[in-house]
């Protein structure tokens, strides 16, 4: 395989990774909405929570972010990183390959694309990490500790035989 082919394949792979991280962020926002309901956890059954999560998974990242912002106030730096992540995710999902069609056919262009996709990956990771950090005190207060997560994950794997 020559250099151009390899670079082209790298662009597709970095795009796929960037979108993986964007979908992880969407999931993190749904998790945050569940964490916000922990103070009233006695009101909900496991099925209620599953249905709540499934309903929210149908929403777009923009709608999820709007809902989260209506329920909690963020530090300004987190809000700006989430908004930037939303804008970049939408650009990648709807316009990226069309806007970058000409850039994609040159070596310098592909190098530029690789840099911007890696920068987007860092942005989605940063948004995810900062959101997790902001939600941590609330979840710890209500018993959703790291070790409780770990135990639940192990029990689930055991149930599923994996």
């Amino acid at each position: 395989m020559d250099y151009d082919d390899e670079q082209t394949r790298d662009v597709y792979a970095h795009y796929g990774l960037a979108m993986y991280l964007a979908q992880t962020l969407e999931h993190a926002i749904v998790n945050a909405l569940v964490i916000l309901r922990l103070p009233e956890k006695e009101k909900y059954t496991r099925q209620d929570i599953d249905e709540f999560m499934e309903g929210n998974f149908q929403k777009t990242l923009g709608a999820l972010l709007k809902q989260l912002k209506s329920e909690i106030s963020f530090p300004p730096d987190l809000e700006s990183v989430l908004v930037e992540a939303l804008n970049r995710r939408n650009y990648l999902a709807h316009h990226y390959f069309r806007v970058r069609a000409e850039t994609f056919v040159t070596r310098n262009g592909r190098t530029q694309m690789l840099h911007e996709l890696q920068s987007d990956q860092r942005l989605f990771e940063k948004a995810d990490e900062q959101l997790a950090k902001a939600m941590k005190p609330l979840r710890l207060t209500h018993g959703a500790t790291d070790s409780a997560y770990e135990a639940e994950y192990k029990a689930m794997c055991q149930r599923l035989g994996i």
Binding site: Y12, A13, H14, Y15, G16, F57, H94, H95, Y96, F97
Partner: protein, 153 residues
């Protein structure tokens, strides 16, 4: 056996096909809008820009609705378009969540690649059908007659 890079790469290729489809639908709607507003005979930069921006903002689902209400007849491949829309939405919103920890095993990644192959196939079928509306039959493009060699870019 496929690596995680193979999965990410195929995801990128399938996403590009989804965006090609969105672009082609947008082109058809821009042309239909330009004809409706008589912008071909009487060009008007402001109205043309407004038309472009309006269509550029639309999601694939909105573009498909726009196509149904335009003068272009898509009755004969409505099913293909509906399938492509479903495939595209699943790819962009929930593909990785639905497959989740399959990414960590070779067998799991095989399943993910098979799914991506089907999604890509549905998107390309719809794209080819939409291209035929523009008078281009991709199935008849003679691959052995394409230019060869190298362009110094």
């Amino acid at each position: 056996m496929p690596s995680l890079d193979d999965v990410y790469r195929k995801f990128g290729v399938a996403s590009e096909a989804a965006q090609l489809l969105e672009t082609e639908l947008g082109n058809i709607l821009i042309f239909a809008g330009a004809v409706d507003q008589n912008l071909i005979d009487e060009p008007n930069e402001e109205r043309g820009t407004t038309l472009f921006k309006k269509i550029n903002r639309q999601t694939l689902g909105q573009l498909l609705k726009g196509l149904e209400s335009s003068s272009e007849s898509v009755d004969h491949f409505e099913g293909l378009l509906a399938k492509a829309l479903k495939a595209r939405n699943r790819l962009t919103h929930s593909f990785y969540r639905q497959h989740n920890i399959r990414r960590n095993s070779e067998d799991g990644r095989v399943k993910m690649l098979e799914d991506l192959e089907l999604i890509h196939h549905d998107l390309l079928d719809a794209y080819k059908a939409v291209m035929r509306l523009s008078g281009v039959d991709l199935g008849k493009v003679p691959l052995n007659q394409l230019p060869t060699g190298h362009l110094p870019i």
